[in-house]
Symmetry: C2
Subunit: 382 residues, 2 copies
Amino acid sequence: MIETLKKLKEFLGDGSFPLHEPNFSQEEEKCVLDCIKTGWVSSVGKYVDQFERDLEKYTGCKKAVVVMNGTSALHIAYLCAGVMPKDEVLCPSLTFVATANAIRYCNAIPHFVEIEDQTLGIDPEKLRKYLCGIGVVRNNRLINKETNRNISALVVTHIFGHPSKILEIKSVCDEFGIALIEDAAEALGSFYEGTHVGNFGKCSALSFNGNKIITTGGGGAILTNDDELGIKIKHITTTAKIAHPWEYVHDQLGFNYRMPNINAALGCAQLAKIEDFILRKRKIASIYKDIFKAQKDFYFMEEPEHARSNYWLNAIILKKPDANFLNDIVKITNQEKIHSRPIWKPLHLLSYFQNNPRMNLSLTEEMEKRIINLPSSPGLIK
Amino acid sequence: MIETLKKLKEFLGDGSFPLHEPNFSQEEEKCVLDCIKTGWVSSVGKYVDQFERDLEKYTGCKKAVVVMNGTSALHIAYLCAGVMPKDEVLCPSLTFVATANAIRYCNAIPHFVEIEDQTLGIDPEKLRKYLCGIGVVRNNRLINKETNRNISALVVTHIFGHPSKILEIKSVCDEFGIALIEDAAEALGSFYEGTHVGNFGKCSALSFNGNKIITTGGGGAILTNDDELGIKIKHITTTAKIAHPWEYVHDQLGFNYRMPNINAALGCAQLAKIEDFILRKRKIASIYKDIFKAQKDFYFMEEPEHARSNYWLNAIILKKPDANFLNDIVKITNQEKIHSRPIWKPLHLLSYFQNNPRMNLSLTEEMEKRIINLPSSPGLIK
């Protein structure tokens, strides 16, 4: 362990190492100054349009709509995928809280499901068995026999940028007639069998928060391959206002989730560099893999088969759950200004989700005591 | 009319004149570049804290919490003022749609009330009479006898920056035991009897959208004079995360409404100049007043007694409702690139609010055919 910490410090050098910090150059400064000099800083402007088109080109999704952050993107993704009040939405418990909170914003109910240990995403096999047990299909809708509520959708999270077993999960969704949503907040730049994540779901969400692979300060996007849905998404994220030079008519309850032009300007400059960031992040991952290869107690998390991961956040995984050992590693590394952290507390253990429906989550609970994230900024190497 | 248009063009000069555009200088560029150069663009950073403290100092409110926009500020203001699902919230119909939409985000019901013609804000006398008629107090709660729902709050909008009859309205709220919320989205810099608007309500909302007196691209703030509520507001707008260097524990359903540091940086630079903006805007208002003084068919809207208005958007008001005449003025001015617009469509006339409870709104409906806004950017004069 001491030997490993020494190697880690040799790689990182002197200084303080946050988990993930942004990487800017003159291009970002130029775009942002352009907004200020022209006065176009707010919710209409050329960078908003450009960033949306650039995201479509990069991800291969037909329609991208940029919004204020990943949480608002998730909210709209659920709404537009058809989640209705009182529905249940199948959701991993091992994810950032926004994945489940945004279900609640739709007045729907997160129903927590188990993960598998390769990708840390939803386990398609366990899911199928579980749904066969608790579910019944009535009038083409999946009903939870225990609660008598409609299970209308499922959300996958591509944890740390590693694609979930998305095709197998999609197949379960299709089998039971439920909508698939991808929480790809961490996974811009990650591909599964050559297809960018976010293309498999009915709607998907991206995040450009300050800790993500590219940042707009705060920001997010909804992706869809359904043209009509794309128009609807743009409409309800921009207050559902009917286009007119001076009249203010809104035709449904909308949201003011618009990304300001000044933030989109940052996004354009950042997205242009994403492949360089990913190259560097994959190199960092390979260095970590090498540093940790001699360890007996834990291993370095690698990208799944058939995937190219963006390696957003690097992680080591203890072979056995051990909260004390995990805390020791986190404390020692943080003392050395190598910022590390355990994974999020599983959501079903938070007070306000503790009574939510769920399947057996023993692996999820185990993983809370096994996973540690490590500094992953692209700036760690040149 | 032709004579007046001539005078208007003499004042404005050549060019295109939007209703309200931002005014930036080197200070904004400096603050934003500082964010990019230091990497602190996202939801934690020195400008977020500074902007909150600067807003507290300027408004005299004990606590300001900055968020993504005025709509999210309103949502949180309602929640923290105690609005519960299925409650009714008294709300003007002559306001931007966000005032009522944010009530719906709380799963509560906008109940539309009438305005008076001096400030275009809620009419306190008509309100009192109306509540005496439809309301009954049971267990210290005001109940709408017709719907049997709790009327828990009232929101005033300070239209175009002109303070409503806030003390008289507050007195009605106190009499009936309902919470007062101020939608001060348009009114940063407006004072009533020497007190900045936003200080009268339990919670209040500001907006820094691109068309407002100061802008952060997109942004807003919640104001309160209740210390405990201030802490709660900060907590639930930042995902209700319990402070810890690496643990992710959230103790209630929270929102990700944080204003990014790069937007707050703009806000700091803008707020420092607000008194200069107001001086200029008041001068513009006095020029308009002079231009329109000879008109027989309409008059220029002036600040109410006992108030200092920021004159956010200047308006002329037809003496009699006349949709055709109003449309002619809007069309002619827009053809001349003098951007004007009628006031928003009253909200109770939108399809999705048409069945909401409401009092007689004849003046509101009349005003839709009487009000025209005119270019009001501080940059119109030096």
